[in-house]
């Protein structure tokens, strides 16, 4: 096992729920017709082999942020899911526990701070409800959940 040293870190660890990446994208990049951060330019060459999920390049620089969301989902399927899938295959119980802990921490974060854009507070209960509603809509999260159930199915109740 690796030695691991937990050192004090001086950086801003933004809570996921406090982020509003898409809002920032819309406000700072789409509205001002700037290139989306990290999204390939329409004139750049398409990597080989072309991904079946790749959106066709827009005819102009105008974009509604859909390219950003599309590229982000490509990253999800290309890198995030294989890594999580491998972790799940390695130790389903550990994976399940990590997933549960992470979701719990996000859900228990309580009342969110005021959103910078709108200047109002979102209550924790609302977050949980909406969170559960949206989590079922996304294939990635469905995968997380299905993997969790798989982990539960594999571990007998007698083990606990």
């Amino acid at each position: 096992m690796s030695l691991f040293f937990d050192r004090k870190r001086e950086r801003n660890k933004a809570h996921p729920l406090k982020d509003s990446h898409l809002a920032t994208i819309l406000r700072e990049f789409v509205a001002k017709q700037r290139n989306l951060p990290g999204v390939r330019l329409p004139q750049s060459t398409v990597p080989w082999p072309p991904s079946p999920n790749t959106r066709s390049a827009p005819s102009s620089t105008a974009s509604n942020g859909g390219d950003f969301v599309s590229a982000r989902r490509s990253l999800l399927t290309r890198f995030a899911l294989p890594w999580l899938s491998r972790l799940h295959a390695l130790d389903p119980v550990f994976y399940c526990q990590t997933l549960f802990d992470t979701c719990s921490q996000i859900a228990e974060a309580g009342e969110l701070e005021s959103n910078a854009m709108f200047g109002f507070a979102i209550r924790g209960n609302d977050v949980c409800k909406t969170f559960h509603f949206h989590i079922q809509k996304l294939p990635s999260c469905v995968y997380c959940l299905s993997a969790t159930f798989e982990a539960l199915r594999q571990s007998s109740p007698l083990d606990h």
Partner: protein
């Protein structure tokens, strides 16, 4: 399991010139460094960070470009004098803001492009103002790989790294992979424009008859300055390449044997030649200009000559079954991996017409199944497969440890094609001392004042060591006593960029004796390292996945996939932190939708 740990009486002893070297470098962050070194090294990240912050605010004017150019030179100077500069850049990525993070990622991608990898979804990593994007910034560099169906994990309809990125089907057996972005494709799906070229040739006995062969290969990026000089000198533009269809050298007319970096390929014409044959181009009447007329003589070889040259290239093929039985599991698994790949490349060459074999005076290509008469290559592959399956070969203690820790008792690791195992080997060869006990160190030496050896010292890996050191660790820890097998493993590590040559030469290691002092670097920490730098690596991934820029996200994912792939050997604490960050990254998208839904509600209310 019939495999036993290697008997200690058969332990490999390094003989000169292969000894554990002291001409090594340890990370500036190593706790055993002197206080002066520690204090000096401590200054580098803040200074670099301040420069990067300032650079970002400097407008792109004439003065601005001058500053960018100077910074590029400063970076090169720092990298040449402080070989673990990547740790400082990782610290900037981990602990500073997004603006300097972007420039630090671009700097890493410029200095260690192979160790970082390249993007396939987002914009190239070094597409910043002060670093011009190379034309080949995201060009693939494919290599042969063997995907073992026995090692495949259960999946829920998802596309993983052992799926073909072209047809999406699962890959079994021989395939091609670009280890710098983890793009894997079936050999049959490899229609990469930069990886195929046609060779049109006329028959020597009848020039009116024209034939076409298709060569599949992958160029390996070389130093751009070198290429420029070659344009003037030779008029050919040679680049080291991996061939996936066997072909002949245009100089010596012998096959380009091997699986990696078999030779040089001209970018302008179909000439292919051995690295060592380049000097004798003129004596063989080969033009220095790209106006070569190819005939069937350049493509044809007699079966007997093919066999003889193969035996010459792979001395292991002369071994009998009983001799092969005396090798360790690691050696036989390495031979199997390399020879089986070679057999595929040979068959591909015959099928694609890049190699015309005359067998009893008849072209094999005329045979319906392109069947070549078997020789020692076929027999040795079969014997190695049988030996691996019968579990009679002894494991080295390190491999035994790997199998126990990764819980892969049912599926023994393929030494040269198991990513986790190769990471494990890299972590071991970085170590200052073999983990398996070094016979030359007696208990008394541990108390010696002249040569203090402490357990703490073992815990901190080198950032640079000579080739002889790596060779010794492979022999002592992994029972790779055969130089031939050790060379295959080291060249595999070199190709995956777990190890890099300090001289940046693109060709593989060829002779341990001649290159024993060749300095090897270990760019970027690995998740398995016993080092404080792993914490920086994990923080870099976490910060990269928190960034708005998708290129930086992809950089984080490349580090995750190539440097911290989940295995039973990795730290649970590290895996948990990374898994949390990935899950949060996934849920960020949920939050985006959540916020946009909320935005709509708010707009309605207002």
């Amino acid at each position: 399991m019939g495999n036993n740990i290697t008997d200690s009486t058969r332990a490999w002893t390094p003989s000169p010139p292969f000894t554990l070297s002291t001409t090594i470098l340890q990370s500036a962050n190593d706790p055993h460094q002197s206080s002066q070194m520690y204090e000096l090294a401590f200054l580098v990240p803040p200074i670099l960070g301040a420069i990067l912050d300032t650079l970002n605010t400097t407008p792109l004017s004439t003065i601005g470009s001058e500053i960018y150019s100077r910074f590029g030179k400063l970076l090169d100077l720092l990298a040449s004098s402080k070989v673990d500069l990547y740790n400082d850049l990782l610290e900037i990525i981990a602990y500073r803001g997004p603006t300097s993070r972007r420039l630090a990622v671009a700097s890493l991608a410029k200095l260690w492009p192979k160790a970082i990898g390249h993007t396939v979804i987002s914009r190239p990593l070094c597409s910043n103002d002060y670093v011009a994007t190379p034309e080949s910034a995201d060009a693939h560099q494919f290599m042969p790989w063997y995907f073992n169906p026995k090692h495949r994990q259960v999946r829920v309809n998802e596309i993983l790294h052992d799926n073909c990125r072209s047809c999406s089907k699962i890959i079994d057996g021989f395939a091609l992979i670009c280890p710098y972005c983890m793009t894997a494709v079936h050999f049959d799906c490899y229609d990469y424009a930069e990886g195929n070229y046609e060779v049109q040739y006329s028959m020597a006995n009848d020039p009116r008859v024209q034939r076409v062969a298709v060569c599949r290969f992958s160029s390996l990026q070389a130093d751009r300055e070198k290429i420029r000089s070659e344009i003037l000198e030779d008029r050919h533009i040679f680049q080291v390449a991996n061939w996936f269809t066997l072909c002949l050298c245009f100089v010596c007319r012998k096959p380009l044997w091997g699986c990696l970096s078999q030779g040089l390929k001209c970018q302008r014409c179909p000439i292919a030649l051995h690295l060592n044959c380049r000097g004798s181009m003129n004596t063989h009447g080969l033009s220095r200009q790209c106006s070569v007329v190819v005939t069937s003589d350049d493509m044809t070889i007699d079966w007997a000559e093919l066999r003889r040259s193969c035996l010459e290239y792979f001395p292991i093929l002369k071994s009998t079954r009983d001799q092969l039985k005396s090798f360790s599991y690691e050696e036989i698994s390495t031979f199997l991996g390399v020879l089986r790949t070679q057999l595929h490349i040979l068959i591909n060459g015959i099928t694609f017409g890049t190699l015309v074999v005359l067998q009893n005076g008849i072209h094999i290509a005329h045979d319906r199944n392109h069947n070549i008469e078997p020789f020692e290559l076929h027999a040795t592959v079969k014997t190695c497969e049988e030996l691996i399956d019968t579990s009679v070969l002894p494991f080295s203690p390190m491999t035994q440890q790997f199998i126990e820790d990764t819980n892969t008792e049912m599926f023994k690791p393929s030494i040269v094609f198991d990513w986790s195992y190769l990471e494990y080997v890299t972590s071991a060869v970085k170590s200052s001392l073999p983990q398996n006990g070094y016979p030359h160190h007696s208990a008394a030496e541990f108390l010696s004042i002249d040569h203090p050896v402490t357990s703490d010292r073992i815990a901190h890996p080198y950032v640079s060591a000579p080739l002889s050191h790596l060779r010794s660790i492979l022999g002592l820890d992994f029972s790779l006593r055969s130089d031939e097998a050790a060379k295959f493993v080291l060249n595999q590590l070199l190709h995956l960029s777990f190890v890099e040559r300090q001289d940046r030469a693109p060709h593989p290691f060829q002779d341990f004796t001649l290159e024993k002092d060749a300095q090897c670097l270990f760019p970027l920490p690995l998740g398995l390292d016993l080092s404080t730098n792993v914490e920086t690596l994990v923080c870099s991934v976490e910060s990269s996945l928190s960034d708005l820029d998708l290129s930086i996200n992809e950089f984080g994912f490349l580090l995750l996939t190539r440097r911290f792939w989940p295995s039973g050997l990795a730290s649970e604490y590290g895996l948990k932190r990374l898994a949390r960050r990935i899950i949060s990254w996934i849920l960020d998208e949920v939050c985006h939708f959540f916020l946009t839904e909320k935005e709509k509600e708010i707009k309605l209310i207002l």
